[in-house]
């Protein structure tokens, strides 16, 4: 992206932030929607693995959303001269979505019963997941946007901008999927260990020191 993509005539080198900021935002928002889809599957099938998938997708999307807010602030400072602009709907809506999802983990942690925890978390994930396309659809239909739109930035420039953007987006999506699988494997291993501990605890005091309460789903 630094050698292949051309330097923007208007913003100069600052525009290169676009190739990390926008793919991160798109993947984070898709991750929230994917979390909602997994939550629907969990409520339909009552299979805890779907709850785990929903949890991991939302967890990773929150991490990416932090990155989006930070890189967006840097880009805003470099382009507009301000770290944050409150009258820009895209920024405020993203912050609202981030704050909404920031309550997901505390919600899970506040419910002790694993069955209730997974059910309430799924309802939350579906409601919040439906909120994401609604909000961003409304913002995109709004007039007088200062915030650049990903579509216009890639189609108005030369083809190399589109190619670089698509490669960045694919890379970000693959990173997201890989980290999701990594975290899923880790959570499954932890759950299996916990189950083994419980089985061993029947005969000796090995399982007495069980781990602390967690917001993560329990299989």
């Amino acid at each position: 992206m630094f050698f292949y993509a051309p330097t923007d005539a208007d913003q100069g080198v600052i525009q290169k932030i676009f190739y990390v900021h926008v793919p991160m935002a798109i993947v984070a928002l898709c991750g929230f929607v994917a979390g909602a889809v997994c939550a629907v599957m969990h409520l339909r099938t009552r299979d805890r693995r779907w709850d785990m998938r929903s949890y991991v997708a939302i967890h990773l999307s929150i991490v990416l959303a932090v990155g989006v807010l930070l890189t967006g602030s840097i880009w805003a400072r470099a382009s507009w001269g301000h770290w944050w602009v409150w009258d820009e709907p895209m920024l405020v809506v993203f912050l609202i979505v981030f704050l909404l999802y920031a309550t997901y983990q505390p919600l899970r942690f506040s419910i002790e019963d694993p069955e209730k925890q997974s059910r309430y978390a799924s309802v939350f994930a579906i409601t919040a997941g439906a909120f994401v396309p609604l909000c961003f659809g409304a913002v995109r239909m709004a007039q007088n946007l200062t915030h650049p739109q990903a579509g216009t930035m890639t189609t108005s420039g030369p083809g190399s901008v589109t190619v670089t953007f698509l490669v960045s987006l694919t890379g970000m999506a693959l990173l997201f999927v890989t980290l999701c699988k990594y975290e899923m494997a880790s959570k499954n291993a932890t759950m299996k260990l916990r189950s083994l501990r419980r089985r061993l605890a029947g005969d000796d005091d090995f399982g007495a020191a069980t781990g602390a309460r967690s917001a993560a789903p329990q299989l």
């Binding site: 600052i14 900021h21 990155g67 890189t71 880009w75 470099a78 880790s186 932890t190 260990l193 090995f206």
Partner: protein, 69 residues
């Protein structure tokens, strides 16, 4: 979007944005590595407990096989 800063001054901002992304990914990987280390320790602990139980069970079976004088 009008450039509030000269282009040369933008290099630092671009570097900062990419470093933040790198920092997030590396922090995530570091946290996952710590969790993986904990899982490994627990596996060793459970394997030891299983071995101890197997040894104890073997000792009991040996004792029951010994002839009573």
């Amino acid at each position: 979007m009008t450039g509030a800063l000269p282009i040369a001054a933008g290099d630092g901002y671009v570097a900062a944005a990419y470093l933040i992304f790198l920092f997030l990914v590396l922090s995530y990987l570091a946290i996952m590595a710590v969790k993986l280390g904990r899982i490994e320790r627990e596996v060793v602990e459970i394997a030891d407990a299983v071995d101890r139980r197997a040894d104890a069970a073997e000792a009991v079976s040996q004792r029951t096989k010994e002839p009573v004088a």
